[in-house]
Point group: C2
Chain length 228, copies 2
């Protein structure tokens, strides 16, 4: 039987990988650490789980503290607990992924001196702790989930154009998609409600759409998904 020293208590944190599409790229919100260890390095936002607080509740609390946003898509990613991942002692962290719509992303990309800013995931600084590993895994999961769920809609405002939707897929997957094939497949799913129009930059005005969760429920039962 393990004695008390062996099954020592452990500190548990949650870390957040907060994604948004900005400037047609997949970006992640990072915090510059003000204290040791890794002082001055960029890191994923996160913090300790409080007594009597659920893991997801802790993640939501941290998310609101960092960004001010609520009611966002949040999903548990993985739990990292290697001894030595935190030089201060045994810390197990439960990583979560949050997706924020572009129009709700709170922070402008500031100067390098800012304490928090968005970074493109494929053009970012080295991170503190094992956060590079966590972020890489989050990107991989997001790519996979994009193909068989509706998480892509979480990265858009409520009303959006088909081009904007396609740009989300292209930004996350990191490759171009064929416009006609993309539109046909989306249309085939029948989960979008067309609205009125609105012009944007440059050319011909684009029709706006809304995601129809009701229709999607029926599709999920049939196992119909997002094959891009």
């Amino acid at each position: 039987m393990p004695d008390r020293a062996q099954r020592a208590d452990t500190r548990v944190t949650v870390d957040l990988v907060i994604f948004a599409i900005r400037e047609a790229r997949l970006q992640v919100l990072l915090i510059r650490r003000a204290v040791a260890p890794f002082e001055g390095r960029w890191a994923l936002p996160g913090g300790f789980v409080l007594a009597g607080e659920g893991l997801e509740a802790a993640a939501l609390r941290e998310l609101e503290e960092e960004t001010g946003v609520r009611q966002v898509y949040l999903e548990q990613l993985y739990t990292f607990g290697d001894p030595g991942r935190d030089p201060r002692g045994r810390v197990v962290t439960v990583a979560y992924v949050a997706l924020i719509a572009a129009d709700r992303a709170p922070l402008e990309a500031g100067s390098d001196a800012a304490a928090a800013r968005w970074w493109p995931v494929d053009d970012r600084p080295p991170l503190a702790f094992d956060h590079d590993k966590i972020l890489d895994y989050a990107v991989e999961r997001l790519r996979n989930k994009l193909e068989y769920t509706t998480v892509g809609f979480q990265l858009l405002p409520r009303q959006f154009t088909l081009t904007a939707l396609q740009q989300v897929y292209e930004a996350v997957l990191g490759r171009r998609l064929d416009k006609r094939n993309f539109r046909r497949k989306i249309a085939l799913l029948g989960i979008l409600t067309p609205l009125r129009e609105r012009r944007t930059e440059g050319g011909r005005p684009a029709r706006l759409y809304e995601f129809s969760a009701r229709r999607f429920e029926k599709l999920k039962d049939k196992g119909i998904l997002f094959p891009f």
Copy 2:
């Protein structure tokens, strides 16, 4: 800032969902609890993570303690940390899924009085703690993974017949598959090495095969998977 009482230390456990195919059914290894809470109830095997021990290392250690097997497929499933999930206090558990080949599954299905036995997942007793939720989620994940990875081979001995492979898929997915279509798709993947023959029960001798990991590596790069 949270004070000491708020970010109280927490005990961290690992719980194991150990699957095997026995009697052509998907079964799970359960332990009868000898002590409170939930004394006499069946539960997933598990235990505390030791000081200085990684999470996966703890899972492997528990697995070997329970079953004596090593070098099995092991994958982190999800982390459960609701306050109140354990009446003794705050316990966060990291759940793992292990897959054991039928010929390495150590225990015979014993009497009800045994401390550990295999149960069919769809015909099992109610479990202690939140273990029903954990097990249900594990089954769901296994079903999904079966369709786009090679985890199915982990549930078979090194040498197996195509019928045995098909039975694994049928047991996990819970539905019958067409024999000709199944064989064609497996052959198309080209990841099996045919061996010599061996008869088994009843009729015509069946050819044995081995899984060829080398060939599979190439397929993974191309995104070719298991579409059943």
